[in-house]
Symmetry: D2
Subunit: 303 residues, 4 copies
């Protein structure tokens, strides 16, 4: 299939690679062009502008945040070009009728709903298919994918999703529902950072060895990587290099809270996480791994 | 070994049975005598008073709360007996020098420290060995045990612990540290009730099927029984019969907060859980399963 | 002075009237035209479109929320008109160079900063001058005004501010600072709703008469109208008619939290208020007075 | 009247002095005897033990905390005396039948209820009459008093209360209700510390001068000493010498939460205050003024 792939970050590069390996014809765009060039040997074509990746059956976006998606799709936030006002402002204007936009990065509910309307207005198809998994899982095509949106879009995207992940969960035709699921999943992980952080501060101040405590907890009730790996980062106070930066975690919690606000759902733990992550940023930890929440908790306890 | 076993609730009865099966000589006491009688066929002797179970090498307490432990050990809170003021007030006065008290139920840090002093003053040995696991695990000798206290006590208790659980974690000689670990473990479980409850309320109000959502979450990030089983109770709104009552969950969160207060550790999620469980009790759900926290969250969202 | 006044709600109408009484030449615009007509007898001219009020030395906006300000100033959110695409989209295009925009309603920091840039780009002057006071205070020219922005704008607006309020606090030349002060003031009031609500729930469940309790509190420590009047609304459970609707309170707390987010300031009480007001809306109280927060607190306590 | 007065701290000394000035016959007890001696010139007799102050018509306690009251009344917590086991253990055993115990310091609900039962069992009268006001108000007989308990006790205490305060609020015959009112009043003050602290952090990070901000807030909405004086302490970062220590504030919030727990009342702001004050203590501010809560808030914002 002819595929456009926009956004070659830690996740996107492995994903684009897997699409190439699966035999698809992939045109890639990345703001920093050198990332794109690394994929040429594997068969990728390079687009100079997002719009140039849009001449495809399916275009996948895997971008850092809502602003990046808005810029790529709608051309918003760009420095306006003096001349050429008539040329397409963003990807959405270059995508053919009937083509599919598959939004795979973590974006907000409001933006996803705006995209659904904008694509429908132009006769394009849209689905959200955010993923669970770290860069290694992306490279190994082991992602879990949560997909929702136009049935026809997801039908068409089937081989693409199969090439990227180990399993796809289909949850209906409202694309933004998939984004909510993704955001709530990140919220659940962040909740673990905070609750583990509190438990660890408590036991440390009671003379318990935190590493042994973590062994007990993950050897009994919570024998899963989220608890094991983040627990270890908190115990070791090792928040660099960041697997996922605190300021990105803050962004996702913010998006979860915006979705909660729109749906009138009080989420007191999410509110707390927002405050803790803000404090992490205010204390200078914004570029550290978001497990630094455990450090904020410890500092608040005088540790 | 000659063992006294006090408290034959849902957990204690299976545990006492396992000690009998392992060939120990067990004298049991339970406030409701009929529970004791059910163990006679398996070889148990029945004590009429807690103090009568105290003529043993090891006495195990597996009682409902701190008040029950205080009454059994110190005779506090009992209606004072008219005569016989000179007879032993509680178990602590009948336990021989050198005997071991193994406190296996979930009690507070302050009480555990008080017990440590009181036993030491009398030349008795004391260890705390609270357990993780539900009644079925207790009956199957599959408990996880966290043990701390006098080294000699734990040495002596080794065969007892082996007969009760699948693994014992030794964490030093300060008995109350084991109680902190147990309380913090229950805190972590309660945190899951709240965070899952919030996530479920959010996705429900965004049109996602909650059962499917739970499948996604437990099929990817959180593939452990705590998330699976409590998640299902929340999704199904099935809080009766109670596996663990909300008012007992409240008690444990209260004990965790008391430990946090004593150690100057702010625990904002624990504070939140305290408020949510208080609200559960205030709304009439005190005797429902503590997964009812998820219902409180949903009600607050207008669901 | 020639003044444009946009937004004749409960606050705006009294304010516009005071400007007329002070002898100014006032052109008013309101979405519902009948409100404007009521001011004609007092000398007001009526504008048919916001842009028509813009031919003035000073234009004042006193609108319901950020969206209304964006629509009036930038024409955003309006149904696009078929023809006439070349006519001015919003007030900002019809305001003369050198004219002053005085933004007096409660808006967010981000919007205020966007306005500052947009006006500067067009050679217009901008200041924010939000007010404290209820509709009666607005009608009686007893408002407290917090003003910040272009010094020249505030100089020129001096007689206007004098005609509207009893006192103006000047706090520098960054207009959005005045908006922050206003938002933080509403946050402080909302904090009183919650803290009083909690105290009242506590004493009620301890058998204390809540009206008498309020007398004690406001007769000793908190002898100010905020505590007296909101306290009485909570005690009497009288949340209709709404002086200030819960959904507007929610909006202001949301704006305060957005400002806090932008400045990396954890505000845990604001986060709590956001959740309580969301719950109020979710429970169907969105159009009741925001003192209904006290009812949410009471319901959570089973009252 | 013959009055025993126990506890000559910053508050108690002024109060005892006022009773002497009013012509009462006052026997005082204070753990540090030198404080008592300072009142001899004004006519006080000195008791060597609390029990010696008990030969009176009314005994007033004005002690630091629950533990001090328990020690004075019940002799608990004292190092046991070797001999003399038959001599009265505490004040409660030396107080004549029909005498009145007026508990005026800030104690918990549970202790107040225990005192009510203990006095009733001995044919003594009991009332709680906690006060609002700082040491200067105590010295000037300007306290506000909230009184509840045995009607006969309060009848008898009438001239005493008149000599101590500017106004007494009678709120029924359940003594502990007065303690709840006092605790909730301190909770309301602590809420101001936190909400003002949050507002000040927000405006500071937006470039607003905090002193000017405080002038605006207290010149408009919150023109009362609680906001003025605590606000100034937060703005100036002046938390020493302590008017009321953070660890005492923590104690009172803890007692409020215990009352809330007993009555099943979720108090999320109180829970937050508990965490912030714990953090203050953990960061080494326990002996600073409790306005240091504002500093904790600021530090969490990176200020």
């Amino acid at each position: 299939m002819r595929i456009g792939f926009i956004g070659l970050g830690a996740m996107g590069k492995g994903m684009a690679g897997n699409l190439l390996h699966a035999g698809h014809e992939v045109t890639v765009f990345n703001r920093t062009r050198s990332r794109s060039e690394e994929l040429v040997a594997e068969g990728a074509r390079i687009a100079d502008r997002p719009a140039d990746a849009g001449n495809a059956e399916i275009v996948i976006t895997m971008l850092a945040d809502d602003a990046a998606v808005e810029q790529v799709l709608f051309g918003e936030g760009e420095t306006p070009r003096s001349a050429g006002a008539s040329e397409p402002r963003g990807l959405i204007d270059s995508l053919p009728r009937g083509a599919v936009h598959l939004s795979m990065s973590t974006i907000g509910v409001a933006l996803s709903e705006r995209l659904a309307v904008a694509h429908r207005d132009r006769g394009q198809l849209y689905a959200a298919a955010p993923v669970f998994g770290r860069p290694e899982a992306a490279a190994a095509a082991k992602l879990f994918i949560v997909a929702a949106g136009d049935a026809a879009a997801l039908e068409r995207a089937q081989p693409v999703l199969a090439a990227l992940g180990q399993r796809t969960f289909r949850i209906g035709d409202r694309a933004s529902a998939a984004n909510v699921v993704k955001l709530s999943g990140n919220f659940l992980i962040a909740s673990v950072l905070e609750s583990l952080g509190e438990a660890l501060a408590l036991v440390r101040k009671n003379g318990v060895d935190p590493a042994q405590y973590l062994d007990i907890v993950t050897g009994t009730l919570f024998d899963v990587p989220v608890y094991r790996s983040y627990g270890r980062l908190i115990v070791e106070g090792k928040h660099e290099p960041a697997g996922f930066k605190a300021r990105l975690g803050l962004k996702d919690v913010r998006l979860a809270l915006e979705a909660a606000d729109a749906a009138s759902v009080p989420m007191p733990i999410a509110s707390l996480l927002h405050d803790q992550l803000l404090s992490a940023v205010a204390r200078g930890h914004g570029d550290r791994d978001w497990s630094v929440v455990g450090r904020v908790v410890a500092e608040n306890a005088g540790l």
